[in-house]
């Protein structure tokens, strides 16, 4: 049981190739991290898995628990268990956070079935407490006027409420001070489970001090170029991505 990316190729609509054969398997119960320099295709990978329509998959496949998701729309993928925590979450004016998350949960229910409002709020508040979010965030419009840290916490709140099978966190640590980072990490760690796989995309080793990955991968120019254990992140932190240039020269 895994999120399995096999030789994935994807281009922009203008034909520019961004992903040039990515292969990666994230079994349930494991946390993987992808690191890499700017422009290596990390964020694109996350969006392509989520089904963003601005990219064209030109080769390869993504499966979750052996099911090919190629034909699934963005929302079908989400309902099938994929969750993308956005680097830059959108603002949705006039839609309260509580109603937004409720609509997302409602979308997972069979037609005619309604969410139990009391149980819903109980669950929402319990998760907000873990993320140290004030109750006022339930009534505020989604991400509108939120600070960078509040937006990221809100992403984790949604993840906790939707209980996906596979979570992809795109630069969730960017723009967070150390206290906010610890809180976000607490939420992510609370979600670690033998029934869930996670992929962290990050620039910085710092995040991995708080969320310990099982495997670390380096992405460059649209491919995974190195894989290793958690020590690889420390190595990258120390030596940077110079080895990529050396590898290119060799």
């Amino acid at each position: 049981m895994s999120l399995h990316i096999q030789n994935l190729h994807a281009t922009l609509e203008d034909g520019t190739e961004i992903l040039k054969g990515v292969t990666l398997e994230i079994p349930k119960g494991e946390v993987h991290a992808i690191m890499g320099p700017n422009g290596s295709g990390k964020s694109t990978l996350s969006k392509v898995i989520a089904g963003h329509e601005g990219y064209v998959v030109t080769g390869g496949a993504v499966t979750i628990d052996e099911e090919d998701i190629a034909e699934m729309s963005i929302d079908e993928r989400s309902r099938a268990g994929i969750f993308l925590a956005f680097q830059y979450p959108s603002e949705v004016p006039g839609v309260s956070n509580a109603n937004f998350i409720r609509a997302a949960l409602q979308a997972r229910l069979p037609k005619g079935e309604e969410i139990d409002a009391v149980a819903y709020y109980k669950s929402l508040y319990a998760k907000m407490d873990i993320l140290e979010m004030d109750r006022k965030f339930t009534g505020r419009a989604v991400n509108e006027g939120f600070s960078g840290g509040e937006k990221k916490r809100n992403e984790i709140l949604q993840m906790m409420m939707l209980e996906p099978k596979y979570c992809i966190l795109d630069e969730t640590d960017s723009g967070l001070d150390i206290d906010a980072l610890k809180i976000v990490a607490k939420g992510v760690n609370a979600m670690r489970s033998p029934d869930r796989g996670m992929l962290l995309i990050t620039h910085y080793q710092r995040l991995l001090d708080y969320i310990k990955p099982d495997h670390v991968h380096v992405m460059a120019e649209g491919r995974i170029v190195r894989s290793g254990g958690p020590e690889l992140a420390l190595e990258l932190e120390k030596d940077g991505y110079e080895f990529l240039k050396e590898a290119a020269l060799a």
């Binding site: 989520a50 089904g51 963003h52 329509e53 601005g54 729309s73 963005i74 929302d75 989400s78 309902r79 969750f83 993308l84 956005f86 979450p89 959108s90 949705v92 004016p93 006039g94 839609v95 937004f100 998350i101 609509a103 997302a104 979308a107 997972r108 419009a141 949604q158 939707l162």
Partner: protein, 421 residues
């Protein structure tokens, strides 16, 4: 008790009839009808409705659901009162206009249609004045606060029926009242017409909130003229929701007559298919030191069309005016059409004014975000459009009223999603 209408009223109706006949119909080239579809002004064949049968009356009353707790509730069908319940406190008059004309003729005369209709519909205002027979008259004494809203349902029933509903609200010093008018048709297929007029006279330091919900069927047309005057330190809030009618024309005039007074002019319109909404507004700053804020939002679907023409006019001597005007259009299709003509004329000093209009579509990134949470694209667009409207609805700052308005908003979105006509 006499039931004779006062002489002043019958005289004014006769004069209005002559004025109606003498006033030419709007024509191409009239600035106040720019971009308008003048074909919509052919009202030939419409007649005042017959009384509704008792079976239909019961049905209409049963369907006249609004908010749970009201200070008074009136149901009119074809301008005839068919149901009322009141729990009005002492010091307040809240009566059908037909009764108020008989029981409080001087009071009605003092305030009845005192402002000149200047946004294009002078002819139709005259027609209304000549024909009006009913509606609501509210008059509050000083220092009276009515906690719950007064709710009025206006139904049109029967083929080619025209109604002339009138709402006149006068607030005494430091009093507070909220009135809700709901306009509906008794069925979905019978053409009707409403020539409606509401007059809000906010007395000193009073707070007058008014909501008009227009949810007529889509073969009915309506002209609604909204006139508001604010005395010193008064606050008037007018909100219009347009979800129904094939064609609706709103003319909203606020006269800020007293220093420290405030007028909030709010509107949400959600036209779809071939619906056309034509809105003209005028923020008239007569007094110095007053505040007006207009926010109109339209979500346009299918081949629908909106026109917004707004003017902030600051009189000589109306110094220290704060006046704002914003019209926002959310274009939900490639074939809808939004026309905006914001305007400003300032004849005083030390004035803060802004006006603007925007038209935009939902950004792909917003849709992607909602879909990435499992929400299907139709529902995602609907949530965003609803949120766009909610921002105005929240300005009502009264939970039960907001819920009522959102019920009609949600009905409309469900109707759009269902593709129903």
């Amino acid at each position: 008790m006499t039931t004779t209408l006062p002489n002043w009223f019958t005289a004014r109706q006769e004069a209005a009839q002559k004025r109606y006949e003498a006033t030419p119909a709007p024509k191409r080239g009239d600035e106040t009808w720019r971009f308008s579809n003048l074909k919509q002004l052919d009202f030939a064949g419409f007649v005042r409705g017959a009384d509704v049968s008792s079976a239909n009356t019961a049905d209409i009353v049963a369907r006249s659901t609004g908010i749970e707790k009201t200070a008074a509730k009136f149901v009119f069908a074809n301008d005839t009162l068919i149901h009322s319940e009141t729990n009005i406190p002492a010091g307040v008059i809240a009566l059908p206009l037909s009764e108020a004309l008989v029981s409080h003729p001087e009071l009605v005369e003092k305030h009845f249609m005192r402002q000149e209709t200047r946004l294009g519909s002078a002819k139709f205002a005259a027609w209304h004045e000549a024909m009006v027979s009913n509606g609501l008259f509210v008059h509050t004494g000083d220092n009276v606060e009515i906690e719950d809203p007064i709710e009025v349902h206006h139904w049109i029933s029967g083929q080619n029926t025209v109604i002339f509903p009138h709402t006149l609200v006068v607030t005494g010093t430091s009093s507070k009242v909220r009135v809700i008018d709901i306009f509906r048709s008794s069925d979905d297929i019978t053409p009707g017409l409403a020539i409606a007029f509401n007059d809000l006279c906010a007395g000193k330091n009073s707070q007058l909130d008014y909501v008009a919900v227009q949810a007529l069927n889509e073969v009915t047309r309506i002209i609604q003229i909204h006139e508001t005057a604010t005395a010193r330190d008064a606050s008037a809030k007018g909100f219009i929701l347009n979800t129904g009618a094939s064609w609706a024309r709103n003319e909203c005039l606020s006269r800020l007559e007293g220093p420290g007074s405030r007028s909030d002019m709010l509107s949400v319109s959600i036209p779809a298919r071939e619906q056309e909404y034509d809105q003209r507004t005028f923020q008239h700053h007569v007094s110095e030191g007053a505040y007006s804020d207009l926010l109109f939002k339209n979500s346009l679907y299918d081949n629908s069309k909106t026109i917004f023409s707004g003017l902030i006019f600051v009189d000589e001597g109306a110094h220290h005016t704060d006046a704002y005007q914003t019209c926002r259009n959310l274009m939900m299709s490639d074939t809808c059409e939004a026309n905006s003509m914001p305007g400003l004329e300032i004849n005083a000093d030390q004035v803060k004014c802004s006006h603007g209009s925007t038209s935009s579509q939902i950004h792909d990134d917003e849709i992607f975000y909602l879909r990435a949470r499992g929400i299907d694209p139709v529902r995602a667009r609907q949530l965003i459009a609803r949120g766009f409207s909610v921002e105005v609805v929240e300005r009502l700052a009264h939970e039960a009223t907001e819920e009522l308005v959102l019920r009609f908003v949600d009905d409309k979105f469900a109707h759009i999603a269902g593709g129903g006509a």
